[in-house]
């Protein structure tokens, strides 16, 4: 085996850094923390205007001739500077789904505008009454001539307060089993029937609850077949990728270890000289290496043409459980210092923040329970134990 990681974007790193130096305002990081919004409209507009969002897309739908590898290097550099692009992540995923399954009208109306940065699409899957059980969606969509009339509510519609459209999972048929009566519609968020309410979270991120009252969506913005929504969701999942961060940044454990080389413990000696501190940090480093390797395996399987569904579930399961172990250990290592937030605490409060962020890791993007179920059924061949519902 060969564990060498070649940086496939190496030749673009320098240019990406230069782009970020020129265009990324360091104040945006503070703004992201203050507002809890992981989307910067100014940055997004710029990326659209410069053709970076359209890199690698078909020209007929607004694709640009910017090198997609260069664009990815820029996105990673933006991530390395502490900015997230959640608005683009969801927009890209929906736009790709539209290219696959929607009408030509929808493609022309949405995709070029999305690539210019003018259309921002957020996800409207989860509802107040559902959770891991996404297919239990109750939002009603009823056909009225060339339009659909939508009523209901969605939860965790992050970035909705900054977006133009929402990709709604609606129920169009109540006579069939729950996975079969779903349809996806792309609704405008400036529709008078839409109400967006902020929901603040433990980790500081702002998300939203969104409410829909007689919201009208033209049938041309139905994405995929009527009652075929579950299949469309699966297409969308394949296009969920996220913007990976650039390689090389120190992990939280490495940051704490570096800090502990000089920060004094209760006896005045550097914390890292304390055998327990050293042991625990070493343990966490093993956890991180294992997580890195599981991620490597996902990329390896994908690079050989496989679908890394099981490997992806393992990587997700391990990394989110490891994150919770990590913050538990790190807060205990830091003791009273771990309580201090922001600049009052060591490493700008990174450990305090990590403790607040950690709980969502085993829920968001597929709960640990769901990941375990996938591994148990698909890797180990164990029988399905949960109710069909």
């Amino acid at each position: 085996m060969d564990f060498t990681e070649h940086d496939s974007l190496a030749e673009f790193r320098k240019a990406a850094t230069a782009w970020a130096d020129e265009h990324v305002d360091p104040a945006w990081v503070d703004l992201e923390h203050t507002t809890g919004t992981h989307h910067n409209p100014e940055l997004h507009a710029l990326l659209g205007a410069q053709g970076l969002l359209g890199a690698g897309w078909p020209a007929q739908y607004g694709g640009t001739d910017v090198d997609p590898a260069y664009a990815l290097a820029v996105f990673q550099e933006i991530g390395a500077r502490g900015l997230r692009m959640d608005g683009w992540v969801t927009t890209e995923m929906v736009a790709r789904t539209i290219l696959h399954v929607a009408t030509e009208e929808a493609k022309q109306e949405i995709v070029p505008a999305a690539l210019r940065g003018e259309v921002v699409i957020v996800l409207g899957y989860t509802e107040p009454g559902s959770g891991s059980d996404v297919a239990a969606a109750k939002m009603r969509a009823v056909r009225d001539g060339d339009e659909w009339v939508v009523n209901g509510s969605k939860m965790f519609t992050s970035t909705a307060h900054m977006a133009t459209h929402v990709f709604l999972l609606t129920r169009t048929n109540t006579e069939v089993s729950k996975h079969k009566g779903l349809t996806l519609l792309l609704a405008r968020l400036d529709d008078p029937g839409v109400e967006v309410q902020p929901v603040h979270t433990l980790g500081g991120q702002r998300t939203n609850a969104t409410f829909y009252s007689d919201v009208r969506v033209p049938d041309t913005l139905r994405i995929g077949d009527v009652d075929g929504g579950w299949g469309v969701m699966r297409v969308a999942l394949v296009h969920e990728r996220g913007t990976a961060t650039a390689p090389g940044g120190p992990t939280l454990v490495e940051q704490v270890a570096a800090w502990a080389r000089s920060a004094p413990g209760a006896d005045g000696a550097p914390l890292l000289d304390d055998p327990t501190v050293a042991e625990q940090l070493a343990r966490l480093a093993i956890d991180e290496e294992v997580g890195r390797l599981l991620g490597l395996k996902v990329r390896w399987v994908a690079s050989t043409g496989g679908m890394p569904g099981i490997e992806g579930s393992m990587q997700k399961l391990h990394s989110s459980e490891a994150e919770q172990r990590r913050v538990d250990v790190l807060t205990d290592l830091l003791g009273e210092q771990a309580l201090l937030a922001g600049d009052a605490g060591p490493l700008h409060g990174a450990v305090e923040w990590a403790l607040r962020k950690a709980p969502v890791s085993t829920i968001y993007g597929g709960s640990s329970e769901v990941m375990r179920e996938i591994v148990a059924e698909r890797r180990l061949g164990l029988p399905r134990s949960r109710p069909i519902g």
């Binding site: 603040h200 209760a266 709980p359």
Partner: protein
Amino acid sequence: MDLSLTEDQQALRGSVAELFEKQATPERVRAAEAVGHDAALWRVLVQSGIPTMGVAEELGGGGATVSDLVVVAIEAGRRVAPVVLPEVLTAAALLAGPAAGADLLAGVGEGTVLPTVALRPLRDGTAGPVAGAAVADVVVALDGEELVVLSRREGVAVEPLPDLGGAAIAEVSTAVWSQRLVLATGDEARRAHADAVSLWRVLTAAALEGLRQEALRIGVDYVKDRHAFGVPIAWFQTVQHRLADLATAGDGAELLVHEAAWARDAGSVKAAALARMALLFAGETAFATAAASLHFHGGYGYTLEYDIQLYYRRAKAWQLALGAPRYELRALAADLFAGEAA
């Protein structure tokens, strides 16, 4: 052996439970987060004589046992009441010893003085972050050979530090807390401080135990009520077993807290070790319970709208006010094992 509360304690529990339920509602808890202290709640507690209830009657206190104080601290913890109760009760105990503390103690009883305690001895003139110091009038601290009451000159403000648990934390240094009143010196000072920190452990363990009970209740109610995949979340075996493990550890934590209080009241030689055990185990169990309960809420647990996050943060924060648990474990090992000859 008698593992039940006395009738008086049951009555006490009933009344303080009612007090905290009314005065430390989730809304009040949230409103007090930035400051870390609810002054209106504090006045009610003063009226009830709680800050000095552990002080001997002849010194103007309530003459309560530590076992009684634990009953109160459990109920305060259950509502994550926004007052630094263990710190105040500990500070009052320290003021109640020496004659020099009499006036301040009277002020605590009347509600004119809000005290707290620095759990770690001062080093180079600083005690590091101290819970309650952002709102306290005085801080009792061990400074070298002296047990002192520190206060600020009129008009000197103290900067509150943003913190995980909303516990009115501020850095305590003699530069800001420049006025000092000596309560005791030498061995007496060190003994008094060590003993007070041991009391703090028991009371904080009790507060964590109350927190744990409520975090468990919130979680159990949620999984019974909430459905996923067509069944209540409570139906899932992994949910059931994790809650059963937590409930079991919880019964242990509850017993350990009461045992630690009993040992202190009875003057047992094991009192100091049991106080450490109670804090460590109650803290660990409270955090595990709050984390599981939050997890079972799914995405909702992560929103600030649900109460469980209030419990999750404090479960970790209250215990860590003393410092990293490894120091406690080492001291516990010394208490338990090093005493006897090899």
